[in-house]
C-alpha cells in the first residue's frame, strides 16, 4: 500500500507553495458555495415534524452548527488555558511527595 519509509523533506514531488495556496482558495470558495446551497435548500425543505418552536425556521440548524462549534471550541480551549491544562509531566513530577498534588 501507498507509503514508504524514507524521509521526504526537500524532495521534488511536493508541489510549489503557490499552487497549494491556489488549491486552498478554490476549496474554500467551494465550501462557502456549498454551504450557501444548503441554506437555500432549507427554504424549501423543512422538517416534517418540528420538535420545538425554533427548528421550523430555515437556517436554524446552520446557526446551531456554527454557534455550537464556536462556543464549544472557545469554551473548551478557555478551560484548558485556565485550569484544566497542565504540563505533560504533571503527574510524574508530583510523585516524589505524595501531598504535592494539593498545591
Amino acid at each position: 500500500m501507498g507509503h514508504d519509509s524514507k524521509p521526504m523533506h526537500g524532495q521534488t514531488g511536493v508541489p510549489p507553495a503557490g499552487k497549494i495556496q491556489g488549491l486552498a482558495r478554490t476549496l474554500r470558495n467551494l465550501m462557502f458555495a456549498s454551504l450557501g446551497v444548503l441554506v437555500v435548500l432549507n427554504l424549501f425543505i423543512t422538517p416534517h415534524d418540528p420538535h420545538f418552536g425554533l427548528d421550523k425556521f430555515p437556517g436554524f440548524w446552520a446557526l446551531f452548527g456554527l454557534l455550537g462549534a464556536v462556543i464549544l471550541a472557545k469554551g473548551a480551549k478557555g478551560a484548558a488555558h485556565t485550569f484544566l491544562g497542565k504540563d505533560e509531566d504533571f503527574y510524574e513530577k508530583g510523585s516524589e511527595d505524595p501531598l504535592r498534588l494539593w498545591t
Binding site: 514508504d4 444548503l38 440548524w61 446551531f64 452548527g65 462549534a69 471550541a73 497542565k86 505533560e88 498534588l101
Partner: protein, 589 residues
C-alpha cells in the same frame, strides 16, 4: 429445547487461548482469527432460547440466554473479534493474543449470561484480561496506567458483587432480569453503579481516557469495542427506563467532546469520544422507549465498527511514527494516504454523515429522545454531534495528515494485515450506512424510523457543514498543544497517594518504634534462646533426620522463585487456577 443447537462462542476463545499458550508466537498468531470465524458461524446459526443451565455449588446458573437483545451484541462482537485479530495478525507476542482471547471470551460470557453469578465471573475475566492488554505494551507509563485501570475496575466489580449479594439475600434469586425504575432498591443502585463504571458514565469514566491511550496498538482496538459495549448491553437488560441514565448519558456526550476538543494525544481524543458515543447509548437506555432502545442497540453496533476503525487508524499512526501526539505529527497525507482514507471513513461514520453507519443509528436515538419529549436531551445530543465532527472529523485528521509541512520523521512500514482489517471495517461502516435494513432487522423492536428522508439528510448536512465553517474560522485557535488536561483521575490518583502517605508517616512511625523496642528488650533474650536451640539442633535433630534441613532450604528456594512479587503474574495465575477449577467442576461436578 435442543441443547446441541447452541454452542457457546466463549469456548472457542478459551480453547484458542490455551492452544496459543503452548505454541510459539509466529504460529500462534494465526489461530485467533480462526476462533473468531468459528464464533461468527456459531452466532449466525444460533436459535433463540435458554441453554447451558447447570447447578454449581447449589446455585442454578444459566450461561446461554439467547434472545433478540443478546443477539445484536453477539453478532457485532463476533465480527469485531475477527477484524481485531486480523489487525493483530503481525503481532508475535503470544501473551497479547492470549489476553485478547480471554477478554473476548469474557465479553461473550457476559452477553449470554442469564444470572448475576455467571455475569460477575465473566465480568471479572474481562477486567483482568483487559488489564493485560495494557500492561503488555511493556513501558513504564502503561504499567502505571494498567494498575490504576485494574484498581478502578476492582471497585466497579465490588459494587456489582455487593449489589448482587444483597439482592440474593432479599429476593433469593440471582436471575438477571430488568429492575423496576419506579421501585429501585439499594442493591439495584449498587449493581447499576457497577455497570456504570464499565460504561464510563461520568464521573466514573476517568479510567478510560487514562488507560486506553497506554494500551498496546492492537489491544486498544479490542478494548474500544468490548468493555463499554458489554456494559451498555447489561444496562439495556437491567436498567432500561431509569431517568438518571438519560440525563447522565446526555452529559457524557457533551463531556466527552469537550475534552476531545482540547486533547493532544490522538488515541486519548478517541478515548474521550468513546465516553461521548457511549453517552448516546446510555441516554437511549435511560429514556427507555422502544425507539431509543433500538437506537442504543443500533448505535452500539455501528459504534463498535467505526470506533475500532478509528483506533486502527490512530494505532497505525502510532505504529508507523512512534507517537500519537498531534503536536508531533503533521503533513503525513502524502506518505500514509490509505491510513487517512480508512480513518476518514470512520470519522464521517462517527460524525453521522449520510451514507455512513453513524447516520442511521445516531439520528434514531436523537429523534427517539425528541419524540419522547426530552427536547433538552435531544438538543444536548445535537451539540455533541457538532463537537464530534469538530474534534474527530476535522481537527484530528487536519493536524495529523495536513496542518503543517511533513516534519520528515522516519516511518516504520505498516504491515498489510493492518490495511486489510481497516478495509473490512471501512466497508462495513459504509455498507450499514447504505443498507440500514441489515442492521435494523437485528434490533429487538420493529423499526418504524426512516433515516433517509430529504429533511434528515439536509439537517445533518447543515449541522455538520456549518460545524466545518466554525472550524475554518477558529483553525488557528484549535492548534493542538503539548499539554495534558486534568480529569477525574486526578482524584483517584490523589487517593492512591493518600494511602502512600499514610504508609509512609504513621505506619513508618509505628514500625520504627517497634524495631526500637525489639532491639532493646527482645534481642538479648532471643540470642540466648537461639544459642541453646542451635546447639540442640546440631547435636540432636540433624543427627536423627539427616539432610532434612538441606531439603527444606531447597524447597524454600523454589517457592521463592515462583513468587516474583509482580502483581501481573499472581493475577494471571489466579485466573488460570480459577479456570481449571471451573473446568473440573464443569466436567465431573
Amino acid at each position: 429445547m435442543d441443547v446441541n443447537a447452541f454452542f457457546h462462542p466463549s469456548i472457542f476463545f478459551v480453547a484458542c487461548a490455551l492452544i496459543v499458550w503452548m505454541l510459539p508466537g509466529r504460529i500462534a498468531r494465526w489461530l485467533p482469527p480462526v476462533a473468531a470465524a468459528l464464533a461468527i458461524a456459531c452466532v449466525l446459526t444460533m436459535p433463540h432460547g435458554t441453554y447451558m443451565q447447570l447447578t454449581y455449588l447449589g446455585l442454578g446458573l444459566s450461561l446461554g440466554r439467547v434472545d433478540a437483545l443478546s443477539m445484536v451484541f453477539a453478532h457485532v462482537f463476533a465480527i469485531q473479534a475477527l477484524i481485531g485479530f486480523i489487525f493483530a495478525l503481525h503481532v508475535q507476542d503470544r501473551w497479547q493474543h492470549m489476553a485478547a482471547c480471554m477478554y473476548i471470551a469474557g465479553a461473550f460470557g457476559c452477553t449470554f449470561a442469564g444470572d448475576y453469578v455467571t455475569l460477575f465471573i465473566f465480568w471479572e475475566l474481562m477486567s483482568v484480561s483487559s488489564t493485560f492488554l495494557i500492561w503488555l505494551r511493556r513501558v513504564p507509563a502503561s504499567t502505571r496506567a494498567g494498575m490504576r485501570y485494574f484498581l478502578f475496575h476492582v471497585l466497579g466489580g465490588l459494587f456489582l458483587l455487593g449489589g448482587l449479594l444483597l439482592r440474593y439475600q432479599a429476593t433469593g434469586t440471582f436471575a438477571f432480569e430488568a429492575a423496576d425504575p419506579g421501585a429501585a432498591r439499594l442493591w439495584d443502585i449498587l449493581i447499576m453503579l457497577g455497570f456504570c463504571v464499565n460504561a464510563a458514565v461520568i464521573p466514573l469514566h476517568a479510567w478510560l481516557p487514562d488507560a486506553y491511550p497506554e494500551a498496546t496498538v492492537t489491544g486498544a482496538v479490542f478494548m474500544s469495542a468490548f468493555t463499554t459495549k458489554t456494559a451498555v448491553y447489561v444496562l439495556l437488560r437491567g436498567f432500561a427506563g431509569f431517568e438518571v441514565l438519560a440525563v447522565m448519558g446526555t452529559l457524557m456526550t457533551l463531556y466527552g467532546v469537550t475534552y476531545a476538543t482540547i486533547e493532544n494525544n490522538a488515541r486519548r481524543i478517541l478515548a474521550y469520544h468513546i465516553v461521548s458515543q457511549v453517552g448516546y447509548m446510555v441516554a437511549g437506555v435511560g429514556i427507555g422507549t422502544a425507539m431509543t432502545i433500538n437506537g442504543a442497540c443500533a448505535h452500539a453496533y455501528a459504534h463498535i465498527l467505526y470506533k475500532g476503525l478509528l483506533f486502527m487508524g490512530a494505532g497505525a499512526l502510532l505504529h508507523a511514527a512512534g507517537t500519537a501526539k498531534l503536536s508531533e505529527l503533521g503533513g503525513l497525507f502524502r506518505r500514509l494516504p490509505w491510513v487517512f482514507v480508512w480513518y476518514m471513513v470512520a470519522a464521517v461514520s462517527i460524525s453521522g454523515f449520510p451514507l455512513f453507519s453513524g447516520f442511521v443509528s445516531k439520528t434514531m436515538t436523537i429523534t427517539g429522545a425528541a419524540e419522547a419529549h426530552h427536547t433538552w436531551l435531544a438538543l444536548g445530543m445535537e451539540v455533541a454531534a457538532v463537537g464530534t465532527f469538530l474534534s474527530v472529523g476535522i481537527k484530528l485528521p487536519y493536524f495529523a495528515w495536513f496542518g503543517r509541512p511533513d516534519p520528515g520523521m522516519v516511518l516504520k512500514p505498516i504491515p498489510p494485515n493492518m490495511y486489510a482489517a481497516m478495509a473490512i471495517a471501512g466497508f462495513l461502516c459504509f455498507f450499514i450506512g447504505v443498507q440500514p435494513g441489515f442492521l435494523y432487522r437485528l434490533l429487538p423492536f420493529p423499526v418504524e424510523y426512516v433515516p433517509y428522508t430529504a429533511w434528515h439528510v439536509l439537517q445533518t448536512l447543515l449541522l455538520l457543514g456549518f460545524t466545518g465553517l466554525g472550524f475554518y474560522l477558529l483553525r488557528l485557535k484549535l492548534v493542538p498543544e503539548a499539554k495534558i488536561n486534568l480529569d477525574f483521575d486526578y482524584f483517584y490518583r490523589l487517593a492512591g497517594r493518600g494511602v502512600l502517605a499514610l504508609a509512609r508517616r504513621p505506619v513508618e512511625l509505628l514500625d520504627n518504634w517497634w524495631n526500637e523496642f525489639y532491639a532493646r528488650a527482645g534481642l538479648r533474650g532471643m540470642i540466648t534462646l537461639a544459642a541453646g536451640s542451635a546447639w540442640f539442633d546440631r547435636a540432636a535433630i540433624d543427627g536423627v533426620v539427616d539432610g532434612t534441613a538441606v531439603n527444606v532450604r531447597r524447597a524454600g528456594k523454589t517457592a521463592t522463585l515462583a513468587q516474583t512479587g509482580q502483581l501481573q503474574n499472581y493475577l494471571a495465575a489466579a485466573v488460570i487456577i480459577g479456570l481449571i477449577v471451573f473446568a473440573v467442576v464443569w466436567f465431573w461436578g
